[in-house]
Amino acid sequence: MDVRADTTRQLVRLRGRSYVAFVFSPVVPIVDWLGEIDATLARSPGYFVGKPIVLDLSAVDLSSAAIAHLLGSLGERNIRVLGIEGVEEERLAANMPPLLTGGRACVITRNEPAQKSEPEKPKPTSLLLETPVRSGQSIVFMEGDVTVLGSVGSGAEIVAGGSIHVYGTLRGRAMAGVNGNSNARIYCQRIEAELLAIDGYYQTAEEIDDSLRNRPAQAWLEGDTMKITPLN
């Protein structure tokens, strides 16, 4: 049997892709201009590494030998030139980068470190509530302590990253240290709470000792047990 394998023709795929290239426009005297480049490199040695560079010679009139010398000087500084523009083709030798035409100008924005704006005000670390917290209200303050000058009604809820201070009667729920702050505490002038929680450990109203009721109290965590004691 005749087996004939067709040679599959490899297709040449042409794709367009555009890069942003730096354009160097040397000015006379060339030595000073090279000095500028040296200064840039001194500040950031890797500035031109891996970036395509195009040499625009339209501003200067250089002979073929001078162009070769310039390319050599740039080569010493590890700057590899991708192409040259703005010069007659005759002046370029075979070992030089090709002549480029039709480049379009674009603006390169440097990533300057952003101007330091007004120093931001530090976020408040406590929240003060001057009015009573009513039934159905839920106060959530993850950044720190919550202080309530009035009472916290039954069915209200206070969630704080830090401690909770209630200068009235705490009838609702208080959850302190919800960010994992086991040092947070709950203080109240009169305890009638539905639920106390610190860092995920909680007690419901039923578990709170009746002898504490209606008294000033504080709650804190000791290991993984919640302690509630009268204040003073």
Partner: protein, 271 residues
Amino acid sequence: MAKVLVVTSGKGGVGKTTSTAALGAALAQGGQSVVVVDFDVGLRNLDLVMGAERRVVFDLINVVQGVAKLPQALIRDKRLENLWLLPASQTRDKDALTDEGVGRVIGELRSRFDWILCDSPAGIERGATLAMRYADEAVIVTNPEVSSVRDSDRIIGMLDSKTVRAERGERVEKHVLITRYDPARAARGEMLNIDDILEILATPLLGIIPESQDVLKASNVGTPVTLNDADSAPARAYIDASRRLMGEQVAMVVPAERRGFMNRLLGRRAA
């Protein structure tokens, strides 16, 4: 088989929560395993009437949103071991309930209980629609007054159109429960009488709960009225109603409040 029963009304303040607690307790006293679910998100009260407000940690919203598991949120009654409560949240928005979430929770409850009693919020808004959405049966609570009866009529219309059963072309079994009924005042024409109410609503009667101080007394101490004093007139009426729910034939009587000897001597109480 699990039955989902919604306790609903058009008008507020007619005794939905009291009735949910009383019927739930009566069914549990009859040996059924019962869960009462508070759908009145934002205005929870069933936990108070059940005397469990001091034990609430997680609520219906937490379960619907997947924050807590159902067993974490269920509270077992202290008096009856086959009576459970799923409380509502007071701090969350009533919009926190979603149709799928409620469906999932009801589905989970169906596998655990014989009866799921849903205490609906008043009105015709989303909360009320969600409470009745998955119901197999409905108890429409009505006072003997025109506004309550008219709103109940509206709710019955919704039960026939907005529930899953209705959408599948099935029926939600409906019952009317008349609360705060005073036979003497009805006889004097100060209240709508039973026949008029039933004629307007055209729905079978589940029970008549007499106006009684025992109801307020029981709910203020956090005990369903049937548990507080099973011999009182409203308790007997609720127990009869629960037996009717279980399919028994119980003669409909209007249980009058029993007056003590002193009361009889002193005559009528001031209303």
